[in-house]
C-alpha cells in the first residue's frame, strides 16, 4: 500500500502563498480601515487618501466618552457579558451532558422540543418575556438583564453534540473507579469540553457585549445602561462616520482580547472538527 501526499512545489507553492496573502489582506483590510477611520476627523472620506495612517485625531472617541457615566456603562456591560458567559457555559454543559449521556424517559422529545425553539423568531417571544420580567420586578436589575438569556438553546445543542463524541467507555471507567455523576461531569466531561467551551464562550461574549434591544428594554435608568445603549442615548440621529467606526472599535477590542485568550482552544476545536469530518 502506498501513501500519496500532497506537497505543492514550484509555481504551485507560489500560487498558494499568493492566494493566502490575498485572503489575509481581504480579511484584515476592513479591520484596518475601521481602526484608521475611527481616528480621523469628521469630514468627507476619500479613497485611498483617508486610509493613510497619519493625521490622527481622537475627536470621535472623545465624542463617545463625553458622558460621566461611561465607566458605569462599561462595568454594566462587563457584568452582563461575563456573568452570562459563565452561567450559559455551565448550564449548557450540564444540559448537554444530560441530553448526551443520561438515559431518562422523554429525553429525545424534550431535546428536540428545545431545539425547535430555535425556529421561533426572537421578536415573537420578546414581548411576553419582557412583560414577565417587568412584572416580576426585573426592570433596571442585573438579574432582569441576565436571567432570560441563560437557557441558550444553541449552546445546549452544541454542547450536546460535542459531549456525544466523548466515548462512553471513558465515563464507565470513571464510574467503576467510584465517581458519581457530579464528579464525572466536573473531572472528566468539563475538562474535555475546553475547546468547545472556549469557542462558545467567545460567541456568547460577543452576543452579549454587542446586545442592544434587551438591555434597551430592561435598563431604563441611565445607571443600568450598557455600553451600546448608553452610547446610543448620547448620539444624534445622524452620526458622523468616524464616530460609527469608533463605536465599532470599542465593540471589537474586548472580542479580540477574548479571542486571543481562548485562541488555543478555538484552534484545537477547529482542528478536531476537521479530523472528525
Amino acid at each position: 500500500m502506498t501513501t500519496e501526499t500532497f506537497a505543492p512545489r514550484g509555481l504551485g507553492k507560489v500560487a498558494i502563498h499568493v492566494v493566502a496573502v490575498l485572503c489575509a489582506f481581504v480579511t484584515a483590510f476592513p479591520l484596518y480601515a475601521m481602526v484608521i477611520l475611527s481616528f480621523k476627523q469628521q469630514g468627507s472620506i476619500e479613497f485611498p487618501a483617508s486610509l493613510v495612517p497619519w493625521d490622527f485625531s481622537t475627536e470621535a472617541f472623545q465624542a463617545i466618552f463625553t458622558s460621566p457615566e461611561i465607566w458605569r456603562w462599561m462595568i454594566n456591560t462587563a457584568i452582563y457579558a461575563v456573568v452570562s458567559v459563565v452561567l450559559i457555559l455551565l448550564l449548557s454543559a450540564m444540559a448537554g451532558y444530560a441530553f448526551a449521556k443520561k438515559r431518562f424517559r422523554g429525553r429525545e422529545v424534550m431535546f428536540w422540543s428545545l431545539v425547535s425553539m430555535l425556529m421561533v423568531p426572537y421578536h415573537i417571544t420578546l414581548i411576553p418575556l419582557f412583560i414577565l420580567i417587568a412584572r416580576s420586578g426585573g426592570i433596571d436589575t442585573y438579574w432582569g438583564l441576565i436571567l432570560p438569556g441563560l437557557a441558550n438553546v444553541q449552546a445546549i445543542f452544541l454542547m450536546r453534540q460535542f459531549i456525544k463524541g466523548i466515548p462512553d467507555e471513558l465515563l464507565e471507567a470513571a464510574r467503576v473507579d467510584g465517581c458519581n455523576d457530579w464528579t464525572i461531569f466536573w473531572r472528566i466531561v468539563l475538562p474535555l469540553c475546553k475547546p468547545i467551551l472556549a469557542t462558545l464562550g467567545i460567541f456568547v461574549f460577543l452576543w452579549h457585549w454587542n446586545d442592544f434591544l434587551w438591555p434597551l428594554l430592561v435598563g431604563q435608568s441611565p445607571e443600568m445602561r450598557t455600553l451600546t445603549t448608553g452610547i446610543a442615548s448620547l448620539q444624534a440621529e445622524q452620526v458622523p462616520l468616524p464616530q460609527v467606526f469608533a463605536g465599532a472599535v470599542l465593540a471589537f477590542v474586548p472580542i479580540f482580547v477574548a479571542y486571543l485568550v481562548g485562541q488555543r482552544y478555538v484552534t484545537e476545536n477547529a482542528v478536531a472538527a476537521g479530523i472528525k469530518g
Binding site: V83, I131, D140
Partner: protein, 413 residues
Amino acid sequence: MGRTRKFLTALTVGLLGSALLSGCGAEDQRNTVTMWTYPIITDPAADRAFWERTVEGFRAEHPDINVDVVSRPWDDRDASLTMALMAGKGPDLAYLIPDQVGRYYDQDLLSPIEDYLPERTLTDYRDNALDAVTMDGKPYVAPILMAALAGSCDTRVLADAGVEPPETWDELLAIAPKLKRAGYYATYYQGDLDTSLNMNFYQFLWQAGGKVFSEDGRSLAVDSPAGVQALRFLKKLVDNGYVERSALTQAYQPDQSPMARGEVACVYNQAPLDVGNAMGSTEHIQIAPPLTEQVQAAYGVVGGYGVFQDARDPAAVRAWLSYLTSTEVMSDYNRTAGYFSPRESVTNLYPDDPMMSEAEKYLDRTIPGEPNPRFQEVVNILAPLVQAVLLGQRTPEDALAEAASQAEPILRS
C-alpha cells in the same frame, strides 16, 4: 473542586444580592413625573445642562414634585416605548412626532393634551403645529419644537455657476443644466428606504397640490394627477443627473454626502443646521424659499411631549407640562436645540443669526406630515414603489395605482 464550588456559591450569592438590592429601590410614584426624551439637543453636555436647569427651575416652583427626565436612544424607540407601556413600566410622557401620534392614539395609549395644558398655551400654538398632532379633533401632543425645511443653498456653488436660488420647480429645472455643466447637482434627494417620505416624496406631492391621505384618512390620495406630476418631476431630476443617483439607495451619511463635498446648489430635505453640519459650517448657507409648483410648501417636523393614559400623577404631569411649554422654557429649549418655537408668541429666537432668522419666516409654510394611525404601514408600501419609479423600474401611474390598491385594505381596517 472546592474552588469551583466556592466560585459558584459566590456567583449565586452575588446575583441574588444584586436582585434583592435592586428590589429595595422601589419608589413611591406619587408626585413623581417620568419623562422619556431623546438626543434632540445633539451636544450631550448641553442636553444634560438644559434638563438640569429646567428641572431645577420647575422644582423651585413645585418643590413637592420630582421630575425624572430619562434620555433614551433614538434606535428602536417605538419598540421600547410600546413594550414599556404594555408592561406598565412606561413613562408618564414621552417625546413624539406626528408620524407616531396616530399609532399611539390608535392603541388608546395617549391622553388628549387639552387636559394638561392651560388654555393660553393651547390657543397660542401655530395652526399647522397643532393640526399635525390632532386626531379626531383633539390634539394629543404638546408641541415644543418646529423645524422649517426651506431651501439651504451653498453660496459658493451658486456664485461659481452664476445662478440664483430657484423658487419654483420650473426655475430649478432651468438652472439645473448650468449647474451640471459647472460640476454641481441642482438639489439633493435622499431616496433610501430608511428616509421618511416626509423628507422626500411627500413635500413634492404637497407642492404639486396633492395629499397623502383622503379627508377621512381611510384611503390613499397619492394616486392622483398631483402624485404623478411630483414623481415625473423627480424622475426628470434623476434621469438628467441633477441629483446624486447613489442617494436613491444608500443610507444618508451627512459627512459623506455631496453637501459635505460642496457639490449641491440647494437642499430642501434637511433643516439648515443639518445642512451646515454636513458642510462643516453654516457660513456659506443662504436660505431660499420652499419650492412652489401649485403650492409653496416644505416639510417641517413638529416635536412635542405626549401624555400616556397610565400617567401616575396627572396633576404633577399637568404642572410639569405647563412649565415645559411656557414661553421661557420653550425659548431656551429651541435656542439650545437649534429649532423654532411652535408658539406664535415665541418668535425671533435667533436675532443675531441671519440664516435662522430667514428660515423662521417659513414656519407657516411647513406641513409637519399628515397624521394617520396607518402612517408607517403606508410608508412601507409607498417608499419602495417611489424608489422603483426613480430607478426606472416602474412608471409613476403604475406605482401609485399599486400603492393605492395595496394600502386600501390596511386603511379601511
